[in-house]
């Protein structure tokens, strides 16, 4: 058939079914948007780290990195330069600092570099000459950061480095022309010497980026390892980007799971909408077949429908998804920025576009071709109804299949969900079970309502039951119910698991915070994990205060262990908890605490212990700045840091890191002194001339909880989005279905049914449909919650508290049903306004 003929057929049919086609386009668009938005949110997170790493390292392929924020002697740089095969060896000082202006505070990665860095041709300083860099005596900040803190070029600002407030000026505002996409990264750039002076790290650097001559990589690596002498790490230059995957894992995996659920909801939305257009397409196929067109020609006509729907729906969905990823899902997990240079870039990969586009086209193909395959390929006679397997056999098979899937999930759960793929299999199996069991459950509930209605219900509910018993609209009814079921299932599962995780994190935060009365630590984001070291100059001043009983140093930092950036926490020996019962996975709590106080004993989080084959009592060498052997006192959760956590006592940390610097002070008050009194005294002694903040244990705990929650906040956003999308999807499908029923409503009015009765009947029907779908989804969601919570424990090692989120389930049912009913009420009301008529 000629394309022009196909197009003509499409155009003339469109007039009669414009509303239904627009609904179908909207359905595909919503599905594509949900999928695309969550994909972009993920790629933006990892993409921003990859981009900044690439921009920093330029043509460098290797690096020598310090294991501690204090860095290493810069004499290593000239040794590296002298190695045979080295083209460029560029030193870099890196330090996490806060920049403070009149409008606020931002945490940035301070980068100090010299002319050798420019030789690496990294895009970050591509447009800045060596001369410019040297002439700069202050800080250079990307324009967005400068604007946020309210500072312009040549104006003064304060840099908080550990406990110190250092005044400086903003020498340069960097825009996209200067540093390209790096403008979206939280960085501050200074000449190396100025940065060393500002940070008090004269003669020290954090890393050396090395570009070997072509073919000399191995030789240079060996030379660098010799210089490092086991105290520094020699790694590929882009190592940060590659290990970031470990840290962002939980966020990405949970977002991906949500993407899949979003896509399923979107697909059901599209499928519902396209079912509305099936009668028109069926009648066209009948006409074409009677006119002698071949199945291939009919398929061409239908494929044109697919392309028109798929392409328009996908394009609208991509635009909508891009908007969502900008507006709703842009919040980045800030806790990751303590260990990685996470920016706010918006990274759209071709894979995200391809996945979303394929999803949209697939929905169109399934929605258009599958319901009409019999008619298109001619194995169903014109005008005949689809032959169905006998109802009872079909139902029995579906129930059997559903139960088998539930059994599979249960078996996986009992065996232990230890990998992401097992978690996905268990969840997919549960989803399948839900979809297979839903039709029978739906019939059962309608039948139950049918039996109950005489004593308790009126004419409207009876009409609603009759309509729901219709086999003709069963596919559409089930499809609408399935949309609600999947959305509520997904939301209850994820929100429930999320809430279990939150509870676990709260306990973890309590464990980390409640070992003392008052915390004194550097301000900014680092407060939460206490990982910014500063010189131990304030302990004595604090001890002299009248209300203070004791002051103990708390230490902590990040350390690369293999391909994991592990969080090392070092409370003082006197901390009564050291490690709490709620975080203990394997080991004896009292014994572990006493061994840790002895020294040279640590706790290791589960995934790290598994990877390194460590058991309680076993020993290992920790490649800290000074490699030291430790023994494992206990196995714990990871305290919410997915790459892994190690806890040791503060003195061991000082020995291994070869530094007496502290990350915080734990201040205990004298008996009878209230926390408020203590806070007042400590604040007046410390805060005026330092960058330290003084918090009660409860405030510190709240800060920590807030920081940890940030990592999973996106889940709540997507869960809400899925719920709203599902409610709208069901409302749209229900609304269209009710609108199509007007001729019959006109006839029922002739038979004496009142407008109010008919409207109530439509609302009853919607409520039964939506309520059934959502309730079944909620019940499965509670099981899904259990699966996901176990998966979180096993796969991510997060501290999770197991509980059944029944309130979450009820809230989800209520939200979806209420929104959908409210939206359906209007088209239902308008539909029953139809005038009584004798003829259709």
């Amino acid at each position: 058939m000629r394309l022009s003929t196909i197009f003509y057929l499409y155009r003339v049919r469109l007039r009669a079914r414009l509303v239904q086609e627009l609904l179908a386009v909207a359905g595909i668009a919503v599905g594509v948007a949900l999928l695309f938005a969550s994909q972009v949110a993920n790629t933006s997170l990892s993409g921003s780290v990859t981009r900044l790493t690439d921009e920093l390292v330029g043509t460098a392929r290797l690096q020598v990195v310090a294991r501690a924020p204090q860095g290493f002697d810069e004499r290593f740089v000239s040794e590296a330069e002298r190695l045979p095969g080295v083209s460029v060896a560029a030193p870099m000082l890196e330090r996490s600092v806060n920049v403070v202006g009149p409008n606020g505070v931002e945490t940035v990665d301070l980068i100090g570099v010299d002319r050798r860095f420019i030789q690496l041709n990294g895009p970050l300083l591509e447009h800045i000459s060596a001369g410019q860099l040297y002439r700069q005596h202050g800080l250079a900040l990307p324009v967005p950061i400068a604007e946020k803190i309210g500072v312009k070029s040549l104006q003064s600002l304060t840099v908080q480095i550990g406990a110190k407030n250092v005044p400086t000026i903003l020498a340069l505002e960097l825009n996209a022309t200067d540093i390209g996409a790096g403008v979206a990264n939280p960085v501050a750039i200074m000449p190396l010497q100025a940065a060393q002076s500002l940070t008090g790290m004269t003669g020290r650097v954090s890393r050396i980026l090395v570009e070997p001559y072509q073919g000399h990589d191995s030789e240079v690596r060996r030379g660098l390892q010799r210089i490092a002498a086991g105290k520094l790490d020699v790694q590929p230059a882009n190592f940060d980007a590659s290990i970031f995957g470990q840290a962002e894992g939980p966020t990405v995996q949970s977002t991906e799971l949500f993407s899949a659920i979003s896509a399923l909801v979107g697909f059901l939305f599209a499928f519902n909408a396209m079912l509305l257009t099936v009668p028109q397409r069926r009648s066209l196929i009948t006409d074409l077949r009677l006119d002698g067109y071949t199945p291939l020609e009919i398929l061409e006509v239908m494929l044109f429908d697919v392309l028109a729907l798929g392409i328009i729906g996908t394009l609208v969905g991509l635009v909508l998804g891009d908007f969502l990823s900008h507006s709703l899902l842009q919040a980045q997990p800030g806790y990751l920025s303590l260990a990685f240079p996470v920016g706010s870039q918006h990274v759209v990969s071709w894979q995200s576009v391809a996945i979303a586009t394929l999803g949209g086209l697939l929905a169109a193909v399934v929605g258009v071709i599958v319901p009409l395959r019999g008619e298109i390929f001619g194995y169903r006679p014109v005008g005949a109804h689809a032959k169905r397997a006998p109802m009872r056999i079909g139902r029995a098979l579906a129930i059997a299949g559903g139960l088998m899937c539930t059994v599979l999930t249960t078996m996986l759960l009992l065996r232990g969900i230890e990998t992401v793929s097992t978690a996905v299999l268990a969840f997919v199996s549960l989803t399948l079970s839900l979809l297979l069991i839903l039709p029978s459950t739906f019939s059962g509930i309608i039948s139950l309502v049918d039996r109950l209605q005489r004593p308790v219900m009126g004419v409207s509910s009876r009409i609603a039951v009759i309509e729901l018993l219709s086999s003709t609209t069963r596919a559409r009814s089930l499809s609408i119910a399935a949309t609600g079921a999947i959305a509520v299932f997904g939301s209850v599962s994820i929100e429930g698991a999320h809430s279990n995780l939150r509870e676990g994190l709260v306990r973890s935060a309590a464990n980390l915070s409640m070992g003392t009365d008052i915390w004194v630590s550097p301000s900014g984001g680092s407060t939460t994990l206490a990982t910014t070291p500063f010189e131990d100059r304030y302990g004595g001043r604090l001890m002299r205060l009248s209300k203070v009983a004791s002051v103990e140093p708390y230490r902590g930092g990040f350390l690369n262990v293999g391909d994991r950036r592990v969080l090392v926490l070092a409370p003082p020996k006197t901390d009564p908890r050291l490690v709490s019962a709620t975080q203990l996975v394997v080991g004896n709590l009292a014994l572990a605490r006493s061994r840790m106080r002895e020294g040279r004993w640590v706790t290791v989080s589960q995934e790290l212990a598994d990877e390194r084959h460590l058991r309680v009592g076993g020993s290992f060498v920790l490649l800290a700045p000074r490699p030291m052997a430790f023994r494992v006192a206990a196995i714990t959760t990871n305290f919410g840091w997915s790459p892994g956590t190690i806890i040791m006592n503060s003195d061991d940390y000082a020995r291994a890191w070869q530094s007496q610097d502290v990350s915080a002070y734990q201040v205990s008050l004298r008996p009878g002194v209230t926390v408020e009194e203590g806070l007042r005294e400590v604040r007046s002694a410390i805060e005026p001339d330092t960058a330290l903040v003084v918090q009660s244990a409860a405030q510190h705990e709240q800060n920590e909880i807030a920081g940890q929650r940030q990592g999973l906040a996106r889940l709540t956003d997507i869960a809400a989005l899925v719920l709203v999308a599902a409610a709208l999807a069901m409302a749209a499908a229900m609304g269209a279905m009710l609108w199509q029923r007007r001729p019959r409503l006109a006839g029922m009015k002739v038979d004496g049914f009142g407008q109010g009765e008919l409207w109530a009947a439509l609302l009853w029907e919607s409520a039964l449909l939506l309520g059934t779908g959502c309730s079944v989804g909620a019940i499965f969601g509670l099981y899904g919650q259990l699966v996901l919570s176990h998966a979180l424990v096993s796969v991510t090692g997060f501290p999770v508290v197991f509980s059944m989120g029944v309130s979450v389930a009820i809230a989800c049912i209520a939200v979806v049903t209420a929104i959908a009913l409210l939206v359906v009420a209007l088209p239902g009301y308008l539909a029953v306004q139809v005038k009584p008529a004798l003829q259709e």
């Binding site: 005489r454 219709s470 086999s471 009142g754 009584p836 003829q839």
Partner: protein, 234 residues
């Protein structure tokens, strides 16, 4: 039972022209009487039925059913009147698709009773209409004649005193049409129900107690044209 006196209903169309849909119609239908009203398309048949059903109000004249003036009933009373006193057999065969025959027939009874009870109450009616064994079939599994009989069952389900039948044989073949007309006539007499049969099927005259013609909104003398009929009009 039904008494129409000088009923007038005019419509004004877009360009100001007045259509005299019903123009001074008078007729009566007694209990147990089947009255056939013939008329071509546009003769005012449907408007007349809507006036009798209380779906339209006459410009003048009177529509009385069981002694009550229909136009004076409130909206709620009219709905109740249509539901309980009137049976409507429509041409459109608007059964609910995918729903069993007995549920379709019992639809009007749902206003007063539950579904199971309604099914039980229409069962004898369906049997009387020759649909025994077909009650559990879905609407689309029934033949056109069977569907029409389900519509008749629905109309009779509330034991109305008056049945309005709008072209009940319009979509049926000769044999099925005759079956339906026979059934209507039998039920009319058995149940003492007044039936106003609006049609342009000439065979209907053979079953009617009175026959009228409606032309341009007025009652006219009926002159049967029997030449094409496969049976003899008595």
């Amino acid at each position: 039972m039904l008494q129409l006196d000088e009923v007038v209903k005019h419509y004004r169309v877009g360009d100001g022209e007045i259509i005299r849909a019903v123009d001074g119609v008078s007729l009566s239908v007694a209990a147990g009487e089947l009255v056939a009203l013939y008329g071509p398309s546009g003769s005012g048949k449907t408007t007349l039925l809507m006036l009798i059903a209380g779906l339209l109000t006459p410009d003048s004249g009177s529509v009385r059913v069981n002694g009550r003036e229909v136009s004076r009933l409130s909206a709620r009373e009219r709905a109740h009147y249509r539901r309980s006193e009137l049976g409507f057999i429509r041409q459109s065969l608007d059964l609910i698709p995918g729903v069993r025959a007995d549920d379709n027939a019992a639809l009007k009874l749902l206003a007063s009773t539950g579904r199971r009870d309604a099914q039980r109450r229409v069962a004898p009616l369906l049997e009387r209409l020759g649909l025994n064994g077909r009650a559990v079939q879905r609407a689309e599994q029934l033949s056109m004649g069977e569907r029409q009989r389900v519509m008749i069952a629905r109309a009779l389900s509330t034991s109305p005193s008056l049945v309005l039948a709008d072209e009940p044989t319009g979509s049926l073949d000769t044999d099925r049409g005759r079956e339906v007309l026979t059934l209507l006539a039998e039920i009319c007499h058995e149940r003492n129900v007044g039936v106003l049969l609006v049609t342009h099927d000439p065979r209907a005259a053979a079953f009617a107690d009175q026959v009228h013609a409606l032309r341009d909104g007025r009652i006219a003398h009926y002159q049967p044209d029997n030449s094409h009929l496969p049976f003899e009009v008595q």
